[in-house]
Symmetry: C2
Subunit: 341 residues, 2 copies
Amino acid sequence: MPQLRQIHTSQPSTSSAIDRSVPDFPVAAVDDESHYFASNEPPEYLDELVKEAQCFVDEHKSKGNKVVLVTSGGTTVPLENNTVRFIDNFSAGTRGATSAEYFLEEGYAVIFLHREFSLLPYSRHYSHTTNCFLDYMAEGKDGSLVIADKYRDEMHQVWKKYNEARDKNLLLLLPFTTVNQYLFSLRAIAQVMDTLGTSALLYLAAAVSDFFIPVSRMPEHKIQAQDHMEGGKLVVNLDPVPKFLRRLVDNWAPGAMITSFKLETDKDLLLRKCTQSLERYHHQLVIGNLLQTRKKEVVFVTNTKQQWYRLKDGDGENKEIESLIIPAVIQQHDEYIKNHA
Amino acid sequence: MPQLRQIHTSQPSTSSAIDRSVPDFPVAAVDDESHYFASNEPPEYLDELVKEAQCFVDEHKSKGNKVVLVTSGGTTVPLENNTVRFIDNFSAGTRGATSAEYFLEEGYAVIFLHREFSLLPYSRHYSHTTNCFLDYMAEGKDGSLVIADKYRDEMHQVWKKYNEARDKNLLLLLPFTTVNQYLFSLRAIAQVMDTLGTSALLYLAAAVSDFFIPVSRMPEHKIQAQDHMEGGKLVVNLDPVPKFLRRLVDNWAPGAMITSFKLETDKDLLLRKCTQSLERYHHQLVIGNLLQTRKKEVVFVTNTKQQWYRLKDGDGENKEIESLIIPAVIQQHDEYIKNHA
């Protein structure tokens, strides 16, 4: 028997995965924004990224399409003036990649701002599994390599959707790795999308780091890296990442509808945290979910209501909670557009 | 035109990627070993991993096969009693995954101890590329999904080798994520391989963290996570990882031939660091490489000689430096076996 099996090493524990005992940081004000973006370096490729986003948004604006920005995956915090060592947030990008597919099916143009090498729409069905890519192949009757019978039809459906999105230019993939790249990109894309007014939807599913090391302290950090040799220890000092969601709502894309996520482990805390988030940032929708049940149920929290969406016991394994989430978000987006007409 | 392009975000800078100005830590003694393994928790799946390794080694010992342990990819250091936030070492696992294929071609049985989701032998040709999995597919004449003409033959060759390794049970994939999982697994597998005597080869290509947080300090760390809220900062204290290579040589698999890697950015420093490593750990071979040229040239450093292996200018893009490295390592392994007969 083949021994090509995998022992699973990286599952987060559901009981203690997130320490929520600490209070939230203050909401970032205009000053914090100016300070952050003035004292940290934009990614080298930012101009190129903005150009692509602009081009994409212009095309879909002229076609009258709604455009959603989906953020996905975890951010890193480099510990040195290089990217060999960094702090990471665990996220495979499942929520973001899955959601993007459902937005595409509903006719949205999707800007997918994702952690590089995290899951992508469509290819997600075949990556990050224990199955090797090559396990989907077999030798056909004529001795050439073919897609194995048992996978061919389903893969064909996924391939068709993937190609349709590509051919119609409905999906723009933009990557990030560090939290700094993420923040600069988020601001720039939001500002580009502002031209869409209420047709823009921001769906913020990325797991963004709460802490970072300001570029101004990188040399200091290097000194510490030498200091540590005395006692053999390494000490890393991190600053809180400014809570920019309020800036997004007030300044970057004030016309857009904004959806954020809240991930908790304590059910009693979840609704309170969602409500607090709405009160702090003044946006339109918080989708709350618990780490242990996030693939089965979520709660929508707005200023006027709280509504749960749940998969039913009878739903098959292939039914995804995003098939309930996305239509509900879109319904709210449509009402938002109508109310702001 | 499709807009599914990728901006590359995570390339390490070659000029400053590794700070080598700090001196090396002391060599771990028997006491350090006892202390580390007594005061840190083994991974839950360790017994299962050992069982698989034992089974694999027994089979290939009875067949008279040589067995190589290839370690590959970067280790993580969790910052909390969960795996949401961690420090990571950048490594895609290219060296390890590529090397494993060449060992298999030369008839070695390969234990591939790798970072989960890093590159794997064979599938590496199709993952972590900017190409989506689905880009290799096309619709055939009969309208069904097939492998696109331009990829089919090459993929077929890779698929054949992959299946041969599988069918002959020549490749055992064992994953790790954290540095602690790596260390416990390395020791256990080395001890299992000790039964092979000189037929065992250890080829240590993983990028192992220099620092970690002892399990005993995890609660302390949580207190700090609250403390930090005063000033809004997070402070992380890390201990040096004991330098276990000497324990490996002296105790865990004293019969095996051991090859380690040294990655530097400063060419003047490289040979000195390789020599120092041999002197400190008393093993057989250090393969030195520079971050900027690691895919084009490496230097073998032993007690008696230093020899460079380089791709030639005329070599095509498909020629890999591992096609020179592995036969040279194997030649040295064969001499090692002969000398210890």
